[in-house]
Symmetry: C2
Subunit: 328 residues, 2 copies
């Protein structure tokens, strides 16, 4: 590595798991207990520019125009160390990142953030890593970031033992057909319990977590078939049940906890009613109060209209499937 | 049995399970999958008068001043048949019953109702059955009614196989010490999913139900110790976790369902906050949206005051432990 400057700017999209990632078997390497499967979303993304430059004094990180220090800076700096270590270089990096999500959406941005940072690092340094290889890096910033290296439906393999390279993501379907997601933004407040804390407390104290890995294995297999068949109802049924089983493991923790809020219950009930009315609408939820509605793209505007009775216009965001990271 | 008239009027109190009954192994005999343990409440009860009289043309049933017909009449008439069959008599019965629960509380009244009817039948007919024996009858009207034959803490034994007589309740502690329950009445509307339906759907479709029986066995054993020790915090911790595990089995059903409503989430969150503030307050929930707070009687008024910020005065009902059925 010479003392030149290396620069790139990439956009990566967030993804929503349809078969969830819930629990690490190795916390340091972000190796998951199970494989997981997601849909990348067009509407939410992070743009990140990296500049590796010998004239920089130290690493810096600006997020949404705010200079980051302390843990926030350390986290991305440590992440870039993975590249510097593997490729035997030590250039300081200047990272400038912007999340494109609705104001205070409370929507997880770590997936798109670490996917963008990993993709930009690969691009800037001319490493020529495949998306699967980049996903192994992204995973070590935030587990679900591994899946944001791909457009459409992505499968993140749990891998074997402590072999980091074996736990990568790949695309299984471009989702270039009649499918969409409607995100119902519930509460913009900060989370009281982080995903990491929720996961760990559940693994430690929920008796039902013991059954989670086998449930995921069954759901993954059925979901891959449903995607192959482009069967939106099957996709929705499996995704909704999988998400609810994950939330049930939390509720069965000791002490019990939940990310659900009043409006989460309302959104779920409305989706059930829309289904009664004939729509192919199903919900999923992550470690937060927002509700994401899986449906055909051809029905999503009607579903949005129906939800306008209970939710503000700027709290209902339609998204089509999103692409893999690209240079901007 | 001669052609005399036989009459009695009994009051029986409702009970709230601290280790829940969730699932029948025999639907006809109301034989449960697990044993369960409850606290009888002073504040909510049913008063029932029975009159067995040869001059009556047929069975009749008046509930809260309303003459009942159809299924409602058939249910109690069939229930009294259990006595008529076992004691070889056929007198028509006139049943007059009144539920003493706050208006439209949505609080289960079937427990106190069938306990009162069974106790009144035993009394009127002079059968001399022990409370344990009467509980076997009450159980066949509504499972949880078996526990309302006793004051304080009652244990309903699951019994063996299809042996109805082996599944009876008994008192394990009179609860004549510093314990109370604060009932938070959430939504007075009718339930969309009955307990029976919820139970059956959960048993049929929830993967986590497989672990429920062993969880109950552990919780029962720990709860009996906690009651012996009069350790309200242990009682509360076990009861809250047990209730949440039951609700988790429902949420993990396919399709998922829940009895929780917005105000249920709020009440649970407030109880967690009261705990943070040093109160020994714990919640339990049944197949409905109401939240019941377990706490020392010496703290219940302060807890009620705190909850008045979010709940109307007539939606917060304090109850001390209640007695066994008695003649009125």
């Amino acid at each position: 590595m010479t003392a030149d400057k290396y620069q790139a700017r990439m956009r990566a999209h967030t993804n929503i798991a349809l078969v969830k990632y819930w629990g690490k078997r190795n916390k340091n390497l972000f190796l998951p207990v199970t494989s997981s499967l997601s849909l990348t979303l067009d509407a939410f993304y992070t743009e990140t520019e990296v500049l590796f430059d010998p004239s920089l004094k130290e690493d810096s990180f600006t997020l949404d125009g705010q200079v980051q220090t302390g843990q926030s800076l350390a986290k991305v700096s440590n992440f870039v160390d993975l590249f510097r270590r593997d490729f035997n270089m030590s250039l300081p990096v200047q990272i400038t990142s912007r999340n494109h999500v609705p104001t205070a959406a409370g929507l997880a941005s770590s997936a798109s953030a670490f996917a963008a940072l990993a993709a930009a690092s690969n691009q800037a340094l001319g490493l020529g890593l495949s998306p699967e290889e980049v996903s192994v890096y992204a995973r070590q910033g935030s587990g679900s970031a591994s899946r944001s290296l791909f457009g459409g439906f992505a499968l993140w393999h749990k891998g074997q033992g402590d072999d980091s390279a074996s736990s990568y993501a790949q695309q299984i379907d471009p989702a270039d057909w009649d499918i969409a997601m409607l995100v119902v933004l519930v509460n913009p407040g900060p989370k009281k319990i982080s995903s990491r804390q929720g996961m760990e407390h559940t693994m430690q104290s929920s008796p039902f977590y013991a059954l989670w890995p086998e449930e995921v294995a069954k759901d993954l297999s059925a979901m891959e078939d449903a995607i192959k068949d482009r069967n939106i109802d099957q996709i929705g049924i499996i995704a909704e049940h999988n998400a609810m089983k994950m939330h049930a493991t939390m509720i069965a923790s000791n002490p019990s906890f939940t990310y659900w809020q009043a409006q989460s219950l309302l959104a779920m009930e409305r989706v059930r009613q829309l289904r009664q009315a004939g729509y192919s609408a199903y919900f999923t939820m992550d470690a937060g109060p927002n509700v994401k509605v899986i449906c055909p793209y051809s029905q999503v505007e009607a579903i949005r209209q129906a939800l306008l009775d209970d939710f503000a216009e700027d709290h209902l965001v339609i998204s089509r499937p999103g692409p893999a990271p690209y240079a901007v």
